[in-house]
Symmetry: C4
Subunit: 185 residues, 4 copies
């Protein structure tokens, strides 16, 4: 986790200071591959792989009072379980379009665009990323996504990119140092 | 996804312009490893891992009117499920040889060799790759496969190589820009 | 496994000479990702991925009379099974904080801080790493963890980092050479 | 698969010419990680991940009349299934020591040490590697294993190293070129 070794530009830190809600895509952002296990009846069970640093980062965000949420086109019990473990408040699965759930979350959370960060990796993330106060692209995001991002993580999706976004926000808000000692496994 | 940063040579773009049907191998091309989960009865269930960008790419190809298909030596429910999710029209599993199903697909699709692109990684893909209008090898393909390819992707098999092929085709056909805003999760 | 090609500094070797007990974190240290397989009833089963070299290293540590243990925030049958395979003596799962189980292990093992090595990767490992005689950080550990470590492995967590710690200790104690011929599969 | 781009030294080719039997370790050599899936009853099922190029290589070896075999310390249905798929003749699982099964295989196959190649990655492989005519170490093998190897693959274990060994042997024997067109999926 050397991503945060270099400081983000001041404008990004300004954006990060205002964030109260951190939203993200799942496949390609918080999780790397789409893994399907064949079942004897012809169906398939979905496995999801998460990076431990991302999980720890989301737990720290929660501890710091940053609310979190996910908007994804797929649906799996694995994600539901992991989101619960990481105290994620807003979980929208099976969403072909991301703006409608995004706006519903804004309403439920009572915040406006500028207070929201979003981490994404591919074209369906674009409409939300063009709205939020802090748009973060993972390192292996599609070029179109990188182009609209305010910040590009050093880590690839599913390999610590969300943790980087959490650190970016908590450091900009001066909360990181105090949290380090309070992390739980 | 920086693979498409540099432009392919004009001859490749010419070939890509004519493509109406995108075919591909599965293991080593669309999926990385062969994963087998031991069962208590001595059998094994197959898991397949797909890259989210490849799935999104195939969905975009469908949206753009490019038909898609897969020819693979293995057989798994996981692939059947994933192919359905990605609106893949032609799915031929358990094929020891690839030319017979290739020719059957040509007949069903009503197109000729020049209108077909094929993405592959290993020796069994050679006979089809020597026929199609646009032969694409993944970055870690066998040397023999790279030698007959018109285009070699920057991504390794199972890590976005198929997405790259989709972008190559849709950009050559001038359809990419318009599709970017229509992508769904 | 070229990590041990270069020698660690003398002070690290001095610390390693005294080690009788090797403790470690699991996720991000001995295992790479957190893998959850969706179940039809909405639950998820956890899969853990281990590197063969780490397993062999733990078996060698046992053969050399070094006792071993794990302290982790998660809980899974997979880890229990693997720990048993590798003759791990102390297994503490579902521990939100690491110091209480650490102190319990010290008592059970009858050793003091200086005789303990700990391999970790993230913030919850810090309190234990600041106590032990030899603190080892995996190559992709959080910067805060690397800062307190006496030794940083060349391997990333889950990719041979624990094996490196075992070799470091056994070589410092002059036990490695004799063990090489006694390794079992 | 660029590993075979550069030619091995003449002495290695001489050794490869005589090979009639290709043996190998499994974990760390033909397969990358040790993957265990937790079961509700506290047991764990083992998943094994194989590289498609290795499987295709073993099938080509069989086609060329090279006999194959595996000696491993673990045991799983996944390996049994995969070995059958790849027409592997000798499968010895649950072997703590590798020399006894090695000698049994020599007897069954009716060949002597010089006609055998062995691909390995870690210390338990040493006794066999010091006997065979062609000892191959995977790129991320333990230093002790690399030291006794006649050839070190460019690929890491589980990522095409066995394919490289197959190509090395078949090219030295002048059989490769003719086989390329006969590969089946």
């Amino acid at each position: 986790m050397s991503p945060t070794a270099s400081k983000p530009p001041a404008s990004v830190a300004q954006r990060a200071k205002r964030i109260q809600l951190l939203l993200m895509d799942v496949d390609g952002t918080l999780s790397r591959g789409v893994c399907l296990l064949s079942q004897p009846n012809g169906a398939a069970l979905e496995m999801k792989v998460f990076h431990p640093h991302d999980g720890a980062g989301l737990a720290l965000a929660c501890l710091a009072g940053i609310r979190t949420g996910m908007i994804t086109g797929r649906e799996s019990a694995a994600l539901t379980v992991r989101a619960r473990e990481m105290h994620v408040e807003f979980v929208y699965q099976k969403q072909a379009l991301k703006l409608p759930p995004y706006e519903e979350i804004l309403g439920r959370a009572g915040v406006d665009d500028r207070a929201v960060a979003y981490v994404g990796d591919d074209l369906p993330d674009l409409p939300v990323m063009q709205r939020v106060g802090l748009a973060v692209a993972v390192n292996d995001a599609a070029p179109e996504v990188k182009r609209v991002a305010h910040y590009i993580t050093r880590a690839r999706g599913g390999e610590g990119a969300v943790r980087e976004a959490v650190e970016l926000i908590l450091k900009a808000q001066g909360k990181w140092r105090e949290l380090v000692g309070r992390a739980r496994a």
